[in-house]
Amino acid sequence: MTRVMIYRRFERFWHWSQALLIFVLLATGFEIHGSYHSLGFAQAVRVHTLAAWALIVLWLFAMFWHVTTGEWRQYIPTRKGLFAVLHYYLVGTFTGAEHPYRKTSKAKHNPLQRLAYLFFKLVVSPVIWASGLLYLFYNDWPATLSGLLALEWVALVHTAAAFAMLVFIIAHVYMATMGRTLTSLIRPMITGYEELDEPPR
């Protein structure tokens, strides 16, 4: 076992600032939706818009980072080992089995993580992003668009995507506690280093 840098500095910055922004966006978003009252509508809209812009900028940097470092390959889905991982989470974790996946810095996400994160990145986030921008700029829609689309549908899609985001986060946070110890998967996301079966780079 060697101590390997698995989550680089930008990746950790991206992950945690994205987490913070998503929490802010969920909180203010559901207030705008009318689910509860705290900041007041105007303030919630202001914070929501600001956080959305910050997240968009962060995503642009993250996309650049993924492309230039080749880290995007970490998210290529694979069926190989997928069912073993599923079986582990549904059965093995209770019977004391070992996690079937061997993490390396080149392939740091197990097949289920790959699928989940890919879904997050290619479906949930783009839907939120696109519907959110349409929502924000609905007054500037070109006539052809406003003839096809109603604000109501944009709002419904945005809300549905927000629910999907909330579900993702609940599952993601819970599964982050499923390492050898409660925090063994979270610590590397903070320090960047994890003990892995691979030679030091």
Binding site: I32, F41, A42, V45, E152, T159, A171, T177
Partner: protein, 536 residues
């Protein structure tokens, strides 16, 4: 080489002139004198020194210089009380419409025409008197505040001491016409207000956003008209063109897309907020995004009747005529001291700080005229209807006072009826408390048919709200509409985040969230319970 000193002198003079200009500018700012001084002192005109036998002689004197004024006035709605609506083709105006207050002006002339800009219109079946001297210059141009068209004299001020209100013991002296004639000037709030604040028979009764509190309003009541603020007169927005005043309640400019009115580029009318504020007046883009859908007044007039004067919201004529045991008329007051019942007029409800009702409005108002058959399956009867809707790009959501009440109609002909309420005769309702006679007299005087069978039907009438614009810090906040208790609830064609949502999407969404929480909860508990079986 003589230019040097000359230049120097000029420079010195210029500086002195500059300092004088600057000082005078400072003085004028300090005095708040933001209007140009008049070019004439009317006290110096021989023709205006009097004495005048009556008000028509003052008019003759005015017309000696202002030669075109009478002809101009006679072309305006203020004179004709007739408005041919360009969109609907309906003939409207006070001479023709019926309202949900006292009904029609016709048959009640001397009382109602006390607000005509002329003298002696005693029979509305005829047009107003045609002589030049029948035009009333003073009601709009008196600056002393002493000129008052006596309420029962068909537009004339009184020429002898008279009691008003009748039975009150208060005596109104005839105005000093010579003094008033020497003090004429541009119309101020009190001039317009003398009629427009008192419509419907009393202060604030009719409009809700126009009452005597606007003569000298605090900034919180009207940010434009307050002397603490801009001290606008009515005519600063209701600009005139040859005595024709801009801004109509029958054909409102519901969405002014011309933007800021620049002389030479647009019209000279400033009777819309956009005329000065443009179409993007806010410092936040999201607020400007609302301009296409909401009239400015919708957010910036948070409530009407805010100045301490109550407005009438309900008027039930059906109860009028009840007398006490001795056969005398009754007056009852509500807890706030507002009249609640009068034998002459029936039951009322006065309200202050009234939250408007909201409707899509393209500016066109259609009337149920007195000869139109009523659809009694649709009660309340709309005395007027505001056109417009969400699909129409010329419409916006406007605030309205909705006046409700009950008024007489012909149960056989199914039409509204004219009530002869006022007059020193044996048929006026206010003198005799006899409905059949008052309605028969109203019919005879107006020519509107009456079968002799009548009842009372509930009606409602829409009054657009455009005045009492509050300072911006009092404008509605987002939650007023974007919340569960939305002011715009029930209006079609809009999606308001915070108010609108899809119940099924919310149920489904929260169900999935709940199931996820239960799933991870159960998974976690199972992990804890089965921990012992885990290999180290």
């Amino acid at each position: 080489m003589t230019t040097g000193p000359v230049r120097g002198e000029r420079g010195g003079l210029g500086r002195v002139a500059g300092v004088i200009l600057l000082l005078s500018a400072l003085v004028s700012v300090a005095q708040g004198a933001d209007r140009p001084p008049p070019t004439a002192d009317h006290r110096k005109f021989e023709a205006l020194k009097g004495p005048f036998r009556d008000a028509t002689e003052v008019t003759r004197a005015c017309l000696g210089c202002h030669t075109e004024a009478a002809e101009q006035i006679r072309k305006t709605t203020h004179w004709t009380w007739t408005y041919a609506h360009p969109e609907t083709g309906q003939v409207l105006g006070k001479r023709h419409v019926i309202n949900s207050f006292c009904g029609m002006a016709i048959s009640n002339e001397a009382r109602c025409t006390s607000c005509h800009v002329g003298y002696g219109w005693t029979d509305m079946k005829q047009p107003p008197p045609s002589s030049d001297s029948a035009v009333d210059c003073l009601v709009c141009h008196d600056t002393t505040g002493d000129y008052w068209k006596f309420p029962t004299l068909a537009g004339f001020p009184t020429d002898v001491p008279r009691e008003w209100p009748s039975g009150s013991g208060k005596i109104v002296e005839p105005p000093d016409l010579a003094r008033i004639a020497g003090h004429v000037g541009a119309s101020g709030r009190a001039n317009c207000g003398a009629c427009h604040f008192y419509g419907g028979g009393g202060d604030g009764v009719k409009h809700g956003d126009l009452d005597s509190s606007l003569v000298n309003p605090p900034r919180t009541l009207d940010v434009h008209m307050s002397p603490e603020g801009l001290d606008f007169q009515c005519s600063d927005c209701h600009t005139t063109w040859g005595h024709r005043v801009a801004g109509s309640r029958y054909q409102v400019n519901a969405k002014d897309t011309l933007g800021i009115d620049v002389p030479g580029h647009t019209d000279f009318s400033r009777a819309s907020c956009e005329s000065c504020h443009g179409s993007t007046p806010h410092d936040r883009q999201k607020l400007d995004d609302h301009v296409d859908t909401l009239a400015c007044q919708t957010c910036h007039v948070p409530a009407f009747a805010r100045g301490g004067v109550a407005t009438k919201m309900w008027w039930d004529w059906s109860t009028a005529g009840r007398l006490d045991a001795d056969g005398n008329p009754i007056t009852e007051y509500d807890a706030h001291g507002h009249v609640r019942y009068l034998s002459t007029k029936g039951d009322f409800r006065y309200e202050e700080q009234v939250v408007p009702e909201y409707a899509w409005f393209d500016g066109t108002v259609e009337y149920t005229l007195v000869d139109q058959p009523l659809d009694l399956s649709q009660v309340p009867i709309d005395i007027n209807r505001v056109d417009g809707g969400p699909e129409d790009p010329g419409s916006r959501i406007w605030p309205f006072k909705v006046m409700r009440g009950k008024q007489p109609y012909d149960t056989e002909f199914k039409t509204l009826l004219v009530t002869h309420v006022f007059g020193a005769d044996d048929s006026a309702l206010w003198s005799n408390f006899d409905w059949p006679r008052a309605l028969a007299a109203g019919s005879a005087m107006s020519g509107v048919p009456f079968s002799g069978h009548f009842g009372f039907v509930e009606t409602r009438m829409y009054w657009p709200i455009a005045h009492m614009v509050a300072p911006k810090e009092q404008a509605l906040d987002c939650q007023s509409c974007h919340g569960a208790q939305s002011r715009l609830a029930g209006l079609g064609g809009i999606y308001m985040p915070g108010f609108h949502h899809s119940a099924w999407l919310d149920r489904l969404g929260w169900l999935v969230v709940l199931l996820t929480l239960l799933g991870v909860g159960a998974h976690g508990v199972a992990r804890l319970l089965l921990k012992g079986r885990k290999r180290p």
